[in-house]
Symmetry: C2
Subunit: 269 residues, 2 copies
């Protein structure tokens, strides 16, 4: 958009997933070089069907670019098997490091496409970055302290195994979601990621106020939702060094906060 490139956007109703058929219809209707999607929509917790979408992108010869920032490490992500040409990552989500680093992975198809692309200035000139990388030269002085953390984190992930790391996210997410019924709360999206749970409030509970009270009264920080869902949905991360005990603490705090927020009418029932 900022570069003045033409684009078409698929707008989804909050919490719904994208229909691969809809993507295919769009791709048939026009000539697209690139299909760009975030693997996991962090504002609503929706996980998209990347394998199905990748197949469509490939069929219509569009470069398939996936923002996988909160996916890799928390959910399955098979760059090669799913026909993903470019994956974008950063340090602060499922890698569970401080923010400050981002990464771009390109397959051979993306590299070939890059070869024929014209450079667009000094910033984010992947072609030059890759050329310099070959001689061990970073584009700028890198945030070395974060790279050292990354190195240790990757070693840790290798020791534990990526599958097991994903399984741990899945278990923690399930452990939390299983307790929502008792709290009269619901998982918001139909296809949730393991990285987080977007939670829908009902019974007159204001999500924004719930988030505020958790923070001020229980020192527990869950994320409010931006935009139109602000009063209805809040978000709980399952990324990072979290355990069942953390979920237990959150659920106890949720119980007491929800009780304090419940309208009087209900309390008298």
């Amino acid at each position: 958009r900022a570069n003045g490139l033409p684009f078409e956007e698929i707008q989804l109703a909050s919490g719904t997933t994208v229909d691969p058929g809809d993507i295919e219809a769009r791709l048939m209707g026009g000539s697209f070089d690139v299909l760009l999607i975030n693997g996991h929509e962090t504002s609503t917790g929706v996980l998209y069907d990347l394998p199905a979408i990748g197949e469509i992108a490939r069929r219509h010869n569009a470069l398939f670019i996936v923002d996988a920032i909160s996916t890799v490490g928390a959910d399955e992500f098979q760059m090669d098997d799913w026909g993903i040409d470019v994956a974008i990552l950063s340090s602060q989500k499922a890698l569970a490091l401080p923010p400050g680093l981002s990464f771009v992975a390109l397959n051979q198809r993306a590299l070939d496409r890059l070869d024929s692309a014209s450079s667009s200035g000094i910033y984010f000139d992947l072609k030059t970055y890759l050329k310099n990388q070959a001689r061990g030269q970073m584009p700028y002085t890198p945030a070395i302290s974060l790279f050292l953390m990354l190195h240790e984190r990757l070693n840790q992930m290798r020791r534990v195994g990526l599958d097991q790391g994903i399984e741990r996210h899945a278990q923690l997410a399930k452990y939390f979601r299983d307790q929502l019924d008792d709290l009269s709360l619901q998982v918001f999206p139909l296809y949730p990621s393991n990285a987080m749970t977007a939670v829908r409030c009902a019974n007159g509970i204001n999500a924004r106020e719930l988030v505020r009270r958790l923070e001020t009264q229980h020192s527990i920080y869950v994320a409010p939702n931006p935009g139109e869902l602000e009063t209805r949905v809040f978000r709980v991360s399952h990324m990072g060094d979290q355990h069942d005990e953390d979920v237990d603490g959150l659920c106890i705090a949720l119980r007491s906060t929800i009780d304090s927020l419940r309208p009087v009418r209900e309390m008298s029932q």
Copy 2:
């Protein structure tokens, strides 16, 4: 250069400073929008005469942009008084923080110029960055851990006083330079910055080998010089948490390393 903008470059012989008269002659010879200089040339340790150059830039109505990365904190730097329109900083030099952050300061004249500039894509689009900054929004997820360090460091600088911080760099640099004579070494540039000393070796001492031995035999790391000065010049930083004792240790190690490197012919004298 990467953006295809026309430019003219002033090449200097190593270790020499730029002659303001030379800059003025260039500016008179053509129509320049911008004059860009690094306040302190870190490969040779030369400090440029920014007040004089700023006056020339202003006289010829060129925007004066200074890379002040290793200047601010170590040497005097008066953005307003010296007519500097844009100052570029980063975290890892005289601010003595880990690398990972950079900063751009613009005065009103630069902001006005920015207003009439066209945007150049999504990266480093200062106009959009500033608009978002007004509502507290960063361009990307920032490296928060580094910002917390920056906050503490700025508090520290405020407590100590910027002048006193500069004075400390100056004293440390002088303390080191005063000992060079005894080591048969010389300060390389005529106008050295307080941030570091580029040191010239003589008497057949190979600077690259000296750096290597300091590291392997004394665990002291000083910087080799890139390019044509590699065998003749090495660099000692005075930035960060350094004290006279550190300089003493370095000088003792230099003495013993130089003795071990000195040609036999001299030893027999």
